[in-house]
């Protein structure tokens, strides 16, 4: 048993003994998750879903699971707030910080710990049901220690005007801290909201964020979801977003990944009823030794569903990108319209990307397409820009920015485009200053 596993088992036992009063369903969930994780351990290259990304560094880093609850300076909180806007929720090391958070009326935001005590009936049908134990080691790791996080609920017919910014802040890590982040988002029938999850750090220490967000979109609801991963360059980040869509609901997402030493981001969407639509966009920008692994799974279970995936990557230095996009169209899911595109730009000879589409189509009346491309900066385009007086480095940066811009502009996001463009600009500056 590795040191990490030993520490994990201890943390689990401590939690179990300390919270015997939690609802029985939750005790079972934790126990089941811990059981499979202890048995199977961390994934290896033999697991198909992990064949491109080696997590030895996480397994052997001897992370510990003790809570770290730092005091944040007001200045730090204010700075985060300023970037976010009026709907601002702060989660520090996985724990919701109510005192620093505020949200417009009509949105229910509850500390998951409180909800476990007071709203068990609300949580039970959802929490840990979609991102269920036994499917993935990191999900199990997270569920085995599940006790805190965030519940966001938008009531029926409610339209939330401004984006809800949730900042997941890693702070005061011991250098070995593993933070478990857990969220449940429920949009009631015909409600509408924009939710932005941003993952970032307050200081320079190494840490490991393991985040799970379950999202339920009831009939006719519409969610725009941005996940901005800008963790510290030495951090490890593993995250799953599991979405369940009811009939006529719409999910538009954007995953921007610029940070972390090693990132794995899964976004899994189940279209469980007729006429649901999902649009997933993503952009990953890597340099140095970064590993940025995006995986998607769209499960068309019922007729007349739509899905459109568009992911792009820009990789410099020795960085590695992975895009593995799965689409399943079940036998019942006639008239499905499913598309997937992944394009990559490699800025160095040592950068690398693996792209793998996987389509499984069991219905016969469907429209499906997929495409993948890997390329470099076009010599002709570089020459054109340079012939106008723009130096080679700046020309490269402009072309890369243009490449990135397309995925942002093309998306149906109603807000956030400017913010995403700015973050991309910042990262590209770094990327081209070190090339």
């Amino acid at each position: 048993m590795t040191e990490t596993m030993e520490k994990y088992t201890k943390a689990y036992e401590k939690l179990r003994d300390g919270r015997r009063g939690d609802p029985a369903w939750l005790l079972r969930l934790r126990e089941e998750a811990r059981g499979t994780f202890s048995k199977k351990g961390f994934p290896t290259a033999k697991d198909d879903a992990w064949r491109y990304t080696d997590v030895t560094a996480i397994r052997e880093a001897s992370f510990d699971f003790d809570e770290v609850s730092p005091e944040l300076s007001l200045a730090a909180v204010e700075a985060l707030k300023r970037e976010s806007g009026r709907n601002f929720l702060l989660v520090v090391n996985g724990k919701f910080s109510r005192e620093h958070s505020s949200v417009e009326e009509g949105v229910e935001v509850t500390d998951l710990t409180e909800a476990i005590a007071s709203r068990s009936d609300l949580l039970e049908p959802h929490l840990g049901r979609y991102a269920a134990p036994g499917n993935d080691a990191f999900l199990d790791l997270n569920a085995g220690l599940l006790k805190q996080g965030l519940l966001i609920r938008v009531p029926e017919n409610r339209v939330v005007k401004d984006p809800i910014h949730v900042v997941f802040f890693a702070h005061a890590s011991t250098g070995r801290s593993a933070f478990q982040v857990r969220n449940l988002i429920i949009l009631g029938k015909k409600s509408k909201a924009v939710i932005v999850e941003t993952y970032r750090a307050g200081d320079e220490k190494k840490y490991f964020t393991n985040a799970v967000t379950e999202i339920v979109l009831e009939e006719g609801s519409q969610l725009e979801h941005c996940k901005v991963q800008r963790e510290h360059p030495e951090a490890f980040h593993v995250a799953t977003t599991q979405v369940v869509q009811r009939s006529g609901s719409s999910f538009v997402s954007f995953a921007l990944s610029t940070g972390a030493r090693l990132m794995r981001n899964d976004c899994r969407v189940a279209l469980t009823a007729e006429g649901a639509s999902c649009e997933m966009n993503g952009l990953y920008l890597g340099d140095k030794d970064q590993v940025l692994d995006h995986q998607t799974f769209v499960d068309h279970q019922k007729p007349d569903g739509k899905s459109d995936q568009f992911f792009k990557g820009i990789l410099a230095g020795n960085s590695r990108g992975v895009f593995r996009g799965q689409v399943r169209v079940c036998q019942d899911a006639q008239r499905t319209d499913a598309h997937q595109t992944n394009k990559n730009l490699l800025l160095s000879d040592t950068a690398k990307v693996d792209t793998q589409p996987q389509l499984e189509i069991l219905a016969d009346d469907v429209k499906c397409s997929h495409g993948a491309a890997v390329g470099q900066l076009q010599d002709d385009a570089l020459f054109y820009l340079r012939s106008r007086g723009i130096d080679a480095k700046e020309a490269g940066r402009m072309l890369a920015q243009g490449f990135a811009r397309e995925v942002i502009q093309r998306s149906s996001l109603s807000s956030m485009k400017e913010t995403l463009l700015e973050l991309v600009g910042e990262k590209l500056e770094k990327l081209f200053s070190t090339e």
Partner: protein, 257 residues
């Protein structure tokens, strides 16, 4: 301004230019004509610094400097401009942003202050009138989705914005309908001045109906075989390039050859 001597250029090991001599003085307009495959475009691209073209012999002196020792961007900053035969699409890069970046690079090289967004827009709108370009072009990505004529107008707009000393136009007339040709030619005419030189390369004589050159050169088989004044262009139009090779042609009128 520009002195080319015995220039030999190869692409992928094949010699395209086989000893070009050409001298362009400030304020002069030179037309270089010739059949397809004679090396016209190669000449324009090698002057701008395209990396695929290898100079195997000869020199090009621009304003006293060895042009071939200058980086592509430095040539542009020092006032060399190439209007492309096939302007390149730059997806995701907004036309106005691109023009501003390019202008500010040349301004910096001249020791001038960079223009801010507002100043630039004022400046740009003036220049756009010159080529009758709609403002909607500014927010579109460079050349992407532009028609052939729009791309060529965009090249002349860049010429107007960057205000080079030496403008090299590569088949700017090709693919233009008569209206676009007029707009582009008038744009060029208005940009003519005693300090600015033009070298334009063309297959057909028709652009010369609008732009009157001081010198006309015929480029064939990688060499300038004949030079003259604008009358030469009309002769070529009438008799075709085959005539140049025949015995019937007049002696070279340009003494610099």
């Amino acid at each position: 301004m520009l002195d080319i001597k015995n220039l030999h250029v190869s692409v992928e090991g094949v010699e395209i230019l086989k000893g070009i001599d050409l001298s362009v003085k400030a304020g002069e307009v030179h037309a270089i004509m010739g059949p397809n495959g004679s090396g016209k475009s190669t000449l324009t691209r090698v002057l701008a610094g395209h990396p695929s073209y290898v100079v195997t012999q000869g020199t090009a002196t621009y304003e006293g400097q060895d042009l071939f020792q200058m980086a592509i961007e430095d040539r542009a900053r020092q006032g060399v401009f190439l209007a492309f035969q096939y302007p390149i699409d730059i997806p995701g890069v907004n036309n106005a942003y691109f023009l501003k970046a390019a202008l500010n690079e040349t301004r910096k090289a001249k020791g001038l202050e960079e223009l801010d967004a507002m100043e630039f827009l004022e400046f740009l709108k003036e220049k756009m009138k010159l080529v009758e370009m709609d403002e909607s072009f500014l927010s579109r990505p460079v050349n992407e989705g532009f028609s052939g004529g729009e791309k060529k107008r965009n090249e002349i707009l860049q010429l107007a914005v960057l205000s080079p000393k030496l403008a090299i136009l590569d088949e700017t007339d090709s693919g233009l309908d008569i209206d676009a040709l007029k707009i582009v030619s008038e744009g060029v005419n208005r940009l003519r001045n005693p300090k600015r030189s033009f070298v334009f390369v063309t297959h057909y004589q028709r652009m010369l109906n609008y732009i009157t050159p001081d010198h006309v050169h015929v480029l064939m088989g990688g060499k300038i075989v004949l030079s003259g004044d604008k009358e030469l262009a009309f002769k070529l139009e009438e008799k075709g390039y085959e005539w140049v090779k025949s015995d019937d042609r007049p002696p070279t009128t340009d003494h610099r050859l």
